[in-house]
């Protein structure tokens, strides 16, 4: 899926955006949310999601809390204070990048 290539580059911003809107989520919930929001056009793979989550926790942007749900331990991720600030920056940067790409795609270029 071509969109998966795109999602890889913007995964951090997507995770931060999801957590900004939902206060706390667990890993599977994030993959499901992306699938449902994009009507199955985009899919975050576990191989990409968990390394990104571990990295964000390590950088102090996310906090984790374990809870026992349905007989197993569920790890919930939420934004830290630093994460909230970073979320705004990353989402703005991604929006700007998308807008720039759209300008290029929508215009007829006569570049010499």
């Amino acid at each position: 899926m071509e969109s998966n290539q795109f999602i890889k580059g913007s995964l951090t911003a997507i995770i931060l955006k999801l957590l900004e809107d939902n206060s706390r989520m667990y890993g599977y919930e994030m993959t499901k949310a992306v699938r449902e929001l994009t009507k199955e056009k985009m899919n975050i793979t576990e191989a990409a999601l968990y390394p990104a989550l571990h990295k964000l926790v390590d950088e102090g942007l996310l906090d984790t809390i374990n809870e026992m749900v349905d007989g197993r331990v569920r790890k919930y991720y939420s934004l830290t204070k630093k994460g909230k600030k970073e979320a705004t920056t990353k989402i703005d940067a991604l929006n700007e990048a998308i807008a720039s790409v759209q300008i290029i795609l929508n215009s007829k270029l006569a570049y010499e």
Partner: protein, 235 residues
Amino acid sequence: MNKTTLTRNQLQQLTAFIESRGFKEPFVVMEILDHFACKVEEKLENSPNLTLEDAMHKAHADFGALGFSPISSTYYAYLKKKYKSIYNSQRKKIFTSWFYMPLLAVIGIIIYKAFAWCEINNYRHLFEINDVANSCFLLFFVSSAYLRTYSQDFPKKIDPIKSTILAVDVTLPIGLVFITPHFNKLSERGIAILGTMYALVFVYLCIRHISLHRTLKIAKKEIEETSNNYNNLVA
């Protein structure tokens, strides 16, 4: 559509499946389990006639060609980094502690004075080395051995002391032995230089061992909590 929730017995089968793929550490199994269980539940909801075995294989295939490996490897790396950063913050706490720093400064001065006194009075009972130096090495040898034993049942891949205990705690004192004259008496300047070095190394190793012990204590508590959850599930 009714929400499918896996039973305890089914979760045990999932745990066995994860372990059969080579992921045996309880904290890694627990990291994978919830996501895997959610996927299996989704498969069973979408195809009620599917057996648990088939649902597990389908869910596992969704994880990609590498299966659970990316989750486990990044989790190991994350934990190792986390414990290293806990170690650094504990060390910083001691460096800025109003209790430890004056205490260690006094101990450092005592080591220096005792080293000089032993050197002047020729107290060299083992390997012709200053007795204070010998006592320091013995103390750190015992302390290092204790730390090793304390972390014995700790998962090797995330052991915060395994890779450095030899590098620092053994080579640093041994290095000092090599530069200490074994037979000749030291000059006044030699006593001052070596006494200061012994005092500094002693204080540094004290800070290091206290920080390592605190880090291991925190890490062990976390690992034990996960292991208890795991044991409750599989028991």
